[in-house]
């Protein structure tokens, strides 16, 4: 992989970013209604003041140019709805929460998924295979917004083992990250099983056996790397999915993360917050996909990015 590739890959981001900013900006502005339209009690004079304060009285194009100028300075603007707070402040507060939730979910999904899939692949068509695969079928059919409430009902309301809302203690983290990671653990275990079974049928595994390697050495040195490549390439979509899934998870468990702000601001027509959070999501997903591709190239020497 060359530095040239990295640069080109980053260069592609520029037009996409431009496209996203433009698309979201005009989509929001052209839509009927505005951030202050619901506040009927506001007098026309105050409304005029408000619009002037947020530069809403200017022509659309100059608002757009202004947004870009601010954006390039790293300023995402003031929130229209949360008085006295900027979008930057909101993101600074909410992003770490969402990142923590997402990483927790992804970590346990990867660990459990690989362990379960590996167990199934080593003993195919035994109980060690059937149990994890039955679970993975459940994981694929049960959406986040079913798993979450069911966990809340059973462990929170009936058994009262774990809290069902908030984001303070470690106990608060358990149910949300389980909910968010469940589907991905399921999918990763299927990918691991399939990848390992395919690799273990390859001729180079027979070569390794013929060389006198132990089964353990064959698994660790010769099978895992190739067998886990499908999992690695799935991590890109998985990250995007986890970010999307966090929207629901944060709503279910009342977690003050980015997803809740996104939905809330979208419904409230808080233009700048919608813009800021959308841009952040796009950037995050772009970077994640890029990193996943880099890791893939390191693991598979046959892949050459030039």
């Amino acid at each position: 992989m060359s530095i040239h590739y990295v640069l080109r890959r980053l260069a592609i981001m520029v037009p996409i970013f431009f496209l996203v900013v433009t698309l979201v900006f005009f989509m929001i502005r052209f839509a009927p209604g505005g951030p202050f339209s619901s506040e009927k009690s506001v007098s026309p004079a105050i409304l005029k003041n408000l619009e002037a304060k947020y530069h809403m009285d200017e022509p659309l194009l100059s608002q757009y140019v202004r947004y870009w100028k601010d954006l390039l300075r790293g300023d995402l603007g003031p929130s229209f709805k949360h008085a006295n707070r900027t979008v930057n402040e909101i993101i600074q507060e909410a992003l770490p929460v969402s990142l923590e939730l997402g990483l927790l979910a992804l970590t346990w999904a990867v660990v459990i998924g690989i362990a379960a899939g590996g167990m199934a692949a080593l003993k195919p068509n035994t109980v060690y295979d059937y149990v994890p695969m039955a679970f993975s079928i459940l994981g694929i059919c049960l959406p986040t917004f079913v798993v979450g409430p069911v966990l809340v009902l059973v462990f929170g309301l009936w058994l009262q083992w774990l809290p069902v809302a908030g984001w303070e203690t470690w106990q608060d983290r358990v149910l949300p990250s389980l909910t968010l990671g469940f589907a991905y653990a399921a999918y990763i275990s299927r990918l691991t099983r399939g990848g390992l079974i395919e690799i273990r049928g390859q001729e180079f595994i027979r070569t390794a056996r013929a060389k006198g390697l132990t089964e353990q050495e064959i698994l660790i040195k010769h099978s895992l790397r190739g067998g886990l490549l499908p999992v690695v390439s799935y991590l890109g979509p998985a990250l995007a999915g986890i970010i999307t899934g966090a929207l629901v998870t944060e709503t279910i468990f009342n977690i003050p993360g980015l997803g809740r702000f996104f939905i809330e601001s979208a419904v409230n027509r808080d233009y700048t917050v919608v813009m800021g959070t959308s841009l952040l999501y796009f950037t995050l997903i772009f970077i994640c996909n890029f990193l996943v591709d880099l890791v893939y190239a390191v693991l598979d020497p046959r892949v050459k990015y030039v």
């Binding site: 013929a210 006198g212 132990t214």
Partner: protein, 323 residues
């Protein structure tokens, strides 16, 4: 001279959903140090299975070893524990395979695959093993061996990869090398180079070699002795000359006739009529019975006993002298 490997009445079957596949159905022969024994047969004759199975390289189940002995240096490999057998694999008995493209791990450097036998069996540390492996690459004719050690398999051609496989098989100086169709996937010119390489190494080290092939040209060029296999049975064994010039088995003769020869231009190659039998349906009789032009009533029910025709030459056939 005592044989290095002695196979006696060895049987290995596959228990599949369709039924029992009698892939190896009672075979007997010896392999001597410094000699090359070629096992010849059509695909599906059990020639590969007959070797891979006793080394524990086939999944069991479905494979099940049904009887016989495979003595290596006086010990029966069939009675060995898996871990003892593993210690022989890649040390005293090495293998090279047909597909040089897929027999090497594409994700690992050549070097780290090449040192494995030395690290496992000779307990060498990685540095010593790396040095020794580099030398063995040089021995098989790979230029810039230390560069090759750092490369990945996909950076090599098929012929070069097969050389790497050979180097890997030879790092531990095995007593027996089993080569399963080592040249089938290669160009004709490369085939000859690889066979020459194997012969010259054999001369140096006095290792025994089992050459599994369907190509009688390869047999003529490289083997000392030949075993002709068909449907899990041995039909004829003997020296190369016994088989090529004094064969007394209808199947061997048919096989020879259906091979193109450079010294005799023929208008049309005769083919053996019929097709190889379904290995699930084979009976106690001779499996070649239906396709054989010398068939007798007894062939249907009874596999022939061994009859000796010369010091090395044996055949399994009910027929009288062949015309």
């Amino acid at each position: 001279m005592k044989p290095l490997l002695s196979i006696q009445d060895y049987k290995a079957h596959f228990y599949t959903r369709r039924g029992i596949v009698k892939a190896v159905n009672g075979i007997t022969y010896d392999v001597y140090p410094g000699k090359t024994l070629a096992i010849v047969g059509e695909s599906g004759s059990g020639k590969s299975v007959s070797q891979l199975s006793y080394l524990g390289l086939l999944p069991a189940p479905p494979l099940k070893i049904m009887g016989g002995t495979v003595q290596f240096e006086g010990r029966d490999l069939l009675k060995m524990k898996e871990d003892d057998l593993r210690k022989i694999r890649g040390d005293k008995i090495s293998m090279i395979f047909q597909e040089p493209m897929t027999s090497l791990n594409p994700y690992l450097k050549i070097g780290s695959q090449l040192i494995e036998p030395l690290v496992i069996h000779r307990k060498q540390n990685k540095k010593e093993a790396w040095k020794a492996a580099t030398q063995s690459l040089e021995r098989v004719g790979i230029s810039r061996p230390s560069h090759a050690m750092e490369s990945y398999p996909h950076e090599f051609s098929g012929g070069m990869r097969q050389r790497v496989m050979i180097a890997m098989a030879l790092t531990t100086e095995p007593k027996l090398l089993i080569a399963d169709e080592p040249t089938t996937a290669l160009d004709v010119t490369v085939q000859a180079q690889i066979l020459d390489l194997l012969k010259s190494i054999q001369k140096e080290t006095q290792m025994a070699m089992i050459l599994i092939t369907h190509d009688l040209g390869v047999v003529a060029g490289a083997a000392d002795e030949v075993v002709v296999m068909y449907a899990g049975r041995v039909f004829e064994t003997g020296s190369v000359d016994d088989i090529f010039y004094r064969s007394e088995h209808p199947y061997t003769r048919a096989l020879l006739r259906s091979t193109p020869r450079l010294d005799k231009l023929e208008k049309e190659l005769p083919v053996i009529p019929g097709s190889p039998p379904d290995l699930i349906a084979v009976t106690e009789g001779c499996p070649f019975y239906e396709r054989c032009s010398y068939q007798k009533e007894i062939c249907k029910t009874e596999f022939p006993k061994e009859s000796t025709l010369g010091p090395k030459h044996k055949r399994f056939c009910h027929a009288e002298k062949l015309s």
